[in-house]
Point group: C2
Chain length 263, copies 2
C-alpha cells in the first residue's frame, strides 16, 4: 500500500495494525501513528522468561519493559489488548538455538502455548516528542556497540544503540531533557559524541535500519546514542531453542501515547 507521510502519521494504532495484519503494509513502522508508543517484541518459551525479565530489569536503557503477556497469550493486555503478536508486526526473525532460521511476516505457525511476549519500548516513540519540540536532528540508524549488557542467567551480549545527529548543543541538551522523561522508551542517551568510543566504526554503515543516502556528520552536529531494544545479538549468545524477535525496523504500534508512559 502506498501512503504519504501524513497519511501514515494520521492512522490510529488499530487501523495501522490491521493493515499490517492483512499484509498490506510491509515497510518500517517509524513515522506511523503520531504520538503513539512503539514496542520492540521478543518472544521466548516460559522456561526462559524469568532470566529474560531479569536481564531487562538489569539493563533498562536498552530493554525497558512496557508489557509482558500471559504465558501462551499473544495479546499484550496492558498497552494494546486488541493487538496480536503473531500477526501485527510486518516482519519477524525466528531464531532456533541462536541461528536465524526464518524471517516470516506472520508467526502463527510458530506460536505455542508456552510462549511469553515481552514488549520493550522503542526509540521511534520519542521521535515525535523531539519533533514536537522543533528539534533539528537526523536519525542515523542502529549499531552494535562494545558496551556489554549486565548478564542475567543465560542472557548476555552487546548493547545495540540508535544514533541521532543534532544541530548544536542546545538541541542536543533539549533532546536529553525530553528523553529523560521517557524511561519507558529508553530514557536518556547512553553515549554522547565519538562513535569509536563505543566501538562503532562508521556512522555511514548502520547495522540495522540504515537510511539511504546518509550524508557524513557535519562539524556542528552532535551525535547522541540511545539504547535499542533489538535482541538479535542476545538470541545469538543465549541460544534458546526458540526466540522470535521483530524485524529490523518493523515493531509493534501500541495504543498508549508516549506521553502516557512518560515519567
Amino acid at each position: 500500500m502506498n501512503l504519504s507521510e501524513d497519511e501514515l502519521a494520521d492512522m490510529t494504532p488499530r487501523d495501522f495494525r490491521h493493515m499490517v495484519r492483512r499484509g498490506e503494509w510491509t515497510g518500517r513502522t517509524g513515522g506511523a501513528c503520531r504520538g503513539y508508543a512503539q514496542a520492540n517484541v521478543t518472544i521466548l518459551p516460559k522456561d526462559y522468561a524469568y532470566e529474560f525479565l531479569l536481564f531487562c530489569t538489569r539493563n533498562p536503557r536498552p530493554y525497558p519493559v512496557i508489557d509482558v503477556t500471559e504465558i501462551g497469550d499473544p495479546h499484550p493486555k496492558l498497552v494494546a489488548p486488541e493487538a496480536d503478536l503473531r500477526t501485527d508486526l510486518t516482519r519477524y526473525k525466528v531464531f532456533q538455538n541462536g541461528e536465524l532460521v526464518a524471517e516470516p511476516t506472520d508467526i502463527s505457525d510458530y506460536w505455542r502455548d508456552d510462549l511469553v511476549g515481552f514488549l520493550l519500548g522503542c526509540s521511534a516513540s520519542f521521535d515525535w516528542l523531539l519533533m514536537a519540540a522543533n528539534l533539528k536532528f537526523r536519525l542515523v540508524g542502529g549499531f552494535i556497540t562494545n558496551i556489554q549488557c549486565v548478564p542475567a542467567g543465560r542472557f548476555r551480549g552487546p548493547m545495540l544503540v540508535t544514533c541521532r545527529l543534532f544541530k548544536g548543543a542546545h538541541d542536543a541538551a533539549r533532546a536529553i531533557q525530553i528523553t529523560s522523561r521517557c524511561l519507558a522508551v529508553h530514557g536518556p542517551p547512553v553515549h554522547i559524541g565519538d562513535p569509536a568510543a563505543i566501538g562503532i566504526k562508521d556512522l555511514s554503515h548502520a547495522d540495522l535500519g540504515a537510511l539511504p543516502n546518509f550524508a557524513p556528520q557535519q562539524p556542528d552536529e552532535i551525535a547522541l546514542y540511545w539504547g535499542c531494544g533489538a535482541t538479535r545479538m542476545i538470541a545469538k549468545e543465549a541460544k534458546p531453542p526458540l526466540m522470535i524477535t521483530q524485524g529490523d525496523v518493523e515493531v509493534l504500534v501500541t495504543d498508549r501515547l508516549t506521553e502516557e508512559l512518560a515519567n
Copy 2:
C-alpha cells in the same frame, strides 16, 4: 546501642549494617546513613521468582526493583555487594503458606540454595532529598489501602502506602517534583489528599511504622501518599510455602546514594 540522630545519620552503610549484623541495633532504619538508598527486601523460592519479578514490573510505584540476587546467593551484587540478606536487617517476618510464623533478627537458619532476594526501593531514601530542599513535612506512617495491585501469576493484593503531611501547596508540589526523579524509590505519589478516597480510615492509626504522639492533620497540611514496598499483604494472598520480608520499619541500607539511582 544508643546513638544520637546525628551519629546515626553520619554512619556509613557498611558500619551500620555491621552494627545490625552484630545485633547491636534493633531499631528502625529511617534516619540512618544520610543520603543512602534503603531497600525493602522480599525473599522467595526460585519457583516464585518469575511471577514476583513480573508483579513488581507491573506495579513499579510500590515495588521498584533495584537489585535481584542470584539464586541461592544472599549478597545483592549491584547495590550492596558486601551486605548479607540473612543478617543485615534488624528484623524479619517469615511467612509459611501465607501465615506469619516467626519474626527473627537473623534468617541464617531459614536460608536455602533456592532462595532469591528482591531489593525494592524504600521511601526512607528520598526523605533525605526532601529535607535537603528544606521542605517541611511530617512522616505519618504506612497504611493498607483499597488500591489493588495489578496481579501477576499468584501474586495480588492491596497496595501499601506511606503518608507524609506537607505544609502548604508549594512544599507539596516540590515534593512531587523531587520524588518524580526518584523512580527507583517509588517515584511520585500515588495519591494526594483525602485518606478515605483510598480506604484509609484514620491517619492517626498507621498499619505499620506508627509514630508516637501523632498530632492531627492541620488545615494547612496536604497529605501525599507514596507506594510502599512492604509485601506482607502479598505474602498472605499468594501463600507461597516460604516468603521472608523485612520487619515493619527495618529495611536494608545499601551502598548507593539515592542520587546515584535517580532518573
